[in-house]
């Protein structure tokens, strides 16, 4: 229990730092802070995506349905606002809840599937959901044209007192704080999982479901719990993102890219940890932006090379690399050779 309070302290510290980050950026870079914040928002979204996927993966469920939960969250808030005069903010938690309901539905029928069979079943679920949403009556889900989604923040421009970019700064700061809030929630959930009885349960199920069951762990219960936690977080993200980018469209909102990056990022950063997916998001977002700003053409080739190299040279991700560096520095015996 002592460790969890350390963690909480750390999270609070991080929260405080992140809270003041926009203002700091503004002080340091002025106008350009708007752009940096925009990139940070995207990176934070990627971190939420990655961390939420990782929480589910800790039970050994390699889901390819993350786009479905993201889309469910986004469409929930969009449809609510379209059909009724809902409070703008309510759609976000409701988006999370609808994602959870879908996840429980999916999770309960895929309990017995393992490995790639599970992966393909979840992918199929996401593809079918995309088609279903597109086929819903236009007056409800907008059909192929999608739905406009109102912005969460519309800071007013006061001529004479501020510059235009400061309005963008305010808006980005607000979105950034919302995303950071969801990320902090994700981190809290992740820490709770890591520091509670859930960690042994999740890890046991992931490593050997049968042995776990013989030890008294109920696999179905924890697999569904992981599904619920994971989908709630990504549902929140989907709903918030819908407001930020102003619309939902079946092919875009349920696009496979969400799923792909949800799994690529934590692998890159280090699986089954709280820090790994976050470092993964920070790393991949920086790599992409740096390459983009360096090479006029074909920067994504470099991105692909980084992915390939990362697996070859740091198979356990950034976190694994840090661990092994730490070990080397402490000169911990690694092989039995030294231990004997």
């Amino acid at each position: 229990m002592r460790r969890i309070s350390y963690d909480l302290l750390f999270v609070l510290l991080a929260a405080a730092l992140l809270f003041f980050l926009p203002a700091t950026l503004k002080a340091l870079y002025g106008k350009a802070s708007v752009s940096y914040l925009s990139l940070l928002i995207n990176a934070t979204g990627l971190a939420i995506l990655a961390l939420s996927w990782d929480i589910l993966a800790r039970t050994g469920q390699l889901s390819l349905a993350h786009a479905a939960f993201y889309g469910a969250g986004a469409y929930t808030t969009a449809i609510l606002l379209k059909l009724a005069d809902w409070p703008l903010w309510l759609g976000i938690p409701l988006g999370g809840i609808v994602a959870v309901l879908l996840a429980l539905l999916l999770g309960s029928v895929t309990l017995r599937l393992r490995g790639i069979y599970f992966a393909i079943a979840t992918l199929a679920f996401a593809e079918v959901l995309k088609a279903v949403v597109q086929q819903l009556p236009t007056r409800i889900a907008g059909g192929a044209a999608g739905i406009n989604v109102a912005a969460l923040f519309r800071p007013a421009f006061i001529p004479g007192e501020m510059e235009r970019w400061e309005v963008a700064f305010l808006r980005n700061q607000s979105y950034f704080l919302v995303y950071v809030g969801i990320l902090l929630l994700s981190i809290l959930v992740s820490i709770l999982v890591q520091r509670s009885r859930l960690k042994p349960a999740f890890t046991a199920i992931r490593t050997n479901e049968e042995v776990a069951a013989v030890m008294g762990v109920k696999p179905a219960r924890y697999k569904l719990l992981a599904f619920a936690l994971s989908s709630f977080l990504v549902g929140l993200l989907g709903a918030s993102e819908a407001h930020r980018i102003g619309s939902v469209l079946p092919d875009e909102t349920f696009g496979i890219g969400t799923t792909v990056f949800a799994l690529v990022t934590p692998i890159f950063g280090g699986l089954y940890t709280t820090l790994g997916p976050i470092l993964g998001a920070a790393g991949l977002a920086s790599v992409e932006e740096l390459l983009r700003r360096t090479f006029e053409e074909g920067y994504l080739i470099g991105y692909g090379i980084v992915l390939v190299a990362s697996i070859l040279f740091m198979p356990k991700g950034i976190v694994g690399l840090i661990d092994s560096l730490k070990r080397r520095r402490r000169k911990l015996p690694r092989s039995a050779e030294e231990a004997v």
Binding site: L123, L263, I267, L300, G304
Partner: protein, 288 residues
Amino acid sequence: MDLTLLLQGIVSGILASGLYALVSVGLALAIGVIGIVNFAHGEFFMVGAFITYQLFISFGFDPVISLFFVAPTLFLLGGAIYQSSIRYVLKAPELNQMLLTFGISIILQNLALLIWGGDPRTISSVAYRSIGYQLGGVSIGLVPLASFLISLVIVGSLYYALLKTPAGRAMRAVAQNRMGASLIGLEVNRVYLVTFALSALLAGLGGVMIAVIQSPTPIVGFAFTLKAFAIVVLAGLGNIRGILWASLVVALSESLVATLVPNGDALRNAVFFAIIFVVLIARSRRLA
């Protein structure tokens, strides 16, 4: 419902299974024998399609002739990719394989974009592309028929080769028991190398087919990757013969829904994945 229309739907569906089988069989080999989850498989079609296109543009080669160039090229490409990266992740978790091959897929896609641009290309003069034989109101397309027969032949001969030839038996041996395979004098890594290269070659053949019937673009392979994975899983990992059945089931269902349901063609992907989903779930319940 018009009976001819229904018949046409059935015929089209059956013939369409050829392309599905063709794009899946190489992946089935890679997963079944090597156990590698290759997200870049679709990019092998794409490369095969672009090479076919380039040979046409540069030398005026008909795709049928290009087959003889694409096959060895893709074999070499597959081998090179195996040697430079895949072999290091054979024993790694599936997720590592996914990230690695996803990286390869991004590299290949964007290289193609750099070389050929993003606009769809066309192999313009293919005399046989649009030939259809009319049979009592039902049309049987030459290319679908050929791709159906070719895929039958390829899957059939692959099946036969796996069963009867020493090389095929080597692949099965490695797939069934790595240790046993090395004890009968097989260099397991070399068998893997050849298998992966062959898997790329088969994808390349699919790519030639795609170059004939579609316009090569850098992203033409990706949709096929997902579908090929689904078909391989539906057939059962490593089950080469099952590829034919699985392809037939999904292709025929797609075609029937597209024929019988208003706006049914838009539901093709939904039908495809719904079948995969239901079959996987049902199978998991039956096994338990």
